[in-house]
């Protein structure tokens, strides 16, 4: 029988297509546009240690086949998130579909957020996601994504504090990303989530000013997929843990391409802004492909392009 279930460390999902953080809202917003049960899982918008108002508008600039964004992790903070948001999420998604993304400025903040999530909702969610690509006041943006020792310490502390599966979302923009990935592998997470979003700039020729308030921002969307592909390819050769790839997935073919390069699952982000039901179409497409190719599972295809 065909089986599209996907194991990422200790966590098991109904399929390998995940809604990416910040691009899927809190899932319930999408209820009237798609069949939420078709999501492998949804990583909720990152919750930070304290509420964040986010960055100055404009926050979005369109580029060919993608966007440059600068949201600034706008979120209401943990109190509102736990009290008001999570009950609505739990109504909309099943336990195995919910991933909570957290970000802090220090290891202590990350750990406290993980512990609070685990105490209140540990039984009701599938995994925690450490967003290590976020702004860091003391050490600068992406500190935990570019310092191997910092990444290692963060994971070790979190893993010893909670028993839920933990994913580590890091940014592959730094030159030493393979070295950082090795440290993450050694510290031991359930999966490595890659946001393969290089920085870019757009200037509004009418105002003669940068198009977004923050001047620079990460580029996402199909435009950057080949960059993400190469990074996932390299990571697959370097680490043993499962890889979740995001960066430009729009169709089932894109998802499959990432899997052949070494991803065990994919995160779908900005494509949902254009087609709110795109995840359902990707999953349908993968299932049809399995049928056509008489595949029992997709597992054998993960990294197949290396062999």
């Amino acid at each position: 029988m065909k089986n599209i279930k996907t194991k990422l460390g200790q966590a098991e999902f109904r399929n390998p297509v995940l809604g990416a953080s910040g691009c899927t809202g809190y899932a319930y917003e999408l209820e009237s546009y798609t069949d939420l049960s078709r999501y492998g899982a949804v990583t909720l918008k990152t919750v930070t240690y304290t509420p964040r108002h986010g960055n100055h508008p404009e926050r979005i600039a369109e580029v060919p086949a993608g966007i440059i964004s600068s949201i600034g992790l706008q979120n209401p903070g943990p109190d509102v998130f736990f009290d008001d948001t999570m009950p609505k999420v739990i109504d909309a998604l099943d336990r195995d579909q919910i991933i909570v993304s957290v970000a802090g400025d220090t290891i202590e903040e990350y750990v406290e957020l993980c512990c609070r999530t685990s105490q209140r909702y540990g039984e009701k969610i599938a995994a925690l996601e450490i967003n290590a690509a976020c702004p860091n006041v003391r050490f600068g943006v992406g500190y935990f994504s570019r310092d191997p020792q910092a990444a290692f310490d963060l994971i070790e502390t979190v893993k010893s504090a909670v028993s839920l599966p933990v994913f580590f979302k890091f940014n592959t923009n730094f030159e030493n990303y393979l070295e950082v990935a090795s440290a993450i592998d050694e510290a031991g997470v359930d999966a490595l989530y890659t946001s393969n979003t290089p920085l870019g700039l757009k200037i509004n020729i009418r105002t003669r000013r940068p198009a977004i308030g923050n001047v620079v921002g990460p580029i996402c969307g199909p435009a950057i997929r080949p960059i993400g592909m190469l990074r996932v390819w390299n990571l697959y050769q370097k680490v043993k843990m499962p890889i979740i790839a995001s960066g430009g997935v729009y169709t089932w073919e894109d998802a499959l391409e990432y899997m052949l390069a070494g991803a065990a699952a994919v995160g779908v982000g900005s494509a949902q802004f254009v087609q709110p039901d795109v995840v359902k179409h990707i999953v349908d497409g993968l299932e049809r492909y399995m049928e056509r190719e008489s595949l029992d599972s997709l597992t054998s295809l993960v990294g197949a392009a290396h062999r």
Binding site: E29, L30, P57, E62, F273, V274
Partner: protein, 251 residues
């Protein structure tokens, strides 16, 4: 869902009216709401384009669109019969109370697009509608209005002349003001209405990525009891109360 273009008509050199057949959307729409149109099947332009619902008649809805860039330029090449991928109706539109009888609708340029459908609904309810349009040099746009004879129409030469024109209108006894246009114009209308203690609603534009509340790209600074906060123009708006909108302060 798909909407079939059934009519395309130039209104000015750079504005056109598009009429679509789409019963599901037309029946659900209320004034001030928007749609998100996919321009083509390709990845470029990547995002949908947010546009106000200009009118609804039976199973059809229409848009009044100004050609400003690649997406809107592409639209002018659509021929009747083409089927367009559309999301909507989206967002929170205009609201008023049954007791209110007389309304001032202030439109700035193509911002007028969201006011026509509102005028239609108000007129259907037997309300009195005054339309104040600025700037006068753009008045050819009013050729798009299906029932101009049922409204009292006046003009402001430009933004400098707008406060006086609006004050004159408000002196006639207006229960509520609705406005859509560039931020600068809306700020004047908000201030003038508030100074006259007349409730006013504004339809705000922000660059949007999703239009359905999942990206937080369309942030708009709004005053709340808890202080200034960013709300979503696409979902919490596009229509906001004038006193809520902060035009200059940001976080």
């Amino acid at each position: 869902m798909l909407a079939k273009l059934i009519e395309f008509r130039s209104v000015t050199e750079r504005d056109a009216l598009y009429v679509f057949d789409c019963p599901e959307l037309a029946r659900a729409a209320s004034p001030g709401q928007i749609v998100e149109l996919k321009i083509n099947d390709c990845l470029d332009p990547f995002l949908r384009r947010p546009l106000s619902i200009f009118d609804v008649e039976g199973d059809t809805f229409s848009l009044l669109v100004r050609t400003v860039g690649r997406g809107t330029e592409y639209m002018t090449r659509w021929k009747p019969g083409v089927e367009v991928d559309v999301l909507g109706p989206l967002g929170k539109g205009f609201s008023w109370s049954e007791k209110e009888e007389t309304f001032a609708l202030v439109g700035g340029g193509v911002g007028m697009a969201s006011l026509n459908f509102l005028a239609r609904r108000l007129l259907e309810q037997g309300k009195q509608v005054h339309l104040l349009f600025s700037p006068k040099r753009d008045s050819q746009l009013l050729n798009a209005l299906p029932q101009p004879e049922r409204m009292d129409i006046s003009f402001a030469e430009n933004r400098t002349a707008l406060p006086a024109a609006l004050n004159a209108l408000l002196a006639k006894g207006i229960d509520r003001v609705f406005c859509c246009g560039p931020d600068g114009l809306m700020e004047i209308v908000a201030k003038t209405s508030m100074a006259n203690n007349i409730p006013c609603q504004l339809s705000m534009e922000r660059h949007m990525a999703c239009g359905i509340g999942i990206c937080l790209g369309c942030a708009i600074a709004i005053r709340t009891e808890q202080g200034l906060t960013y709300k979503k123009a696409c979902k919490d708006g596009p229509v906001f109360e004038a006193e809520e909108v902060s035009f200059h302060e940001e976080h």
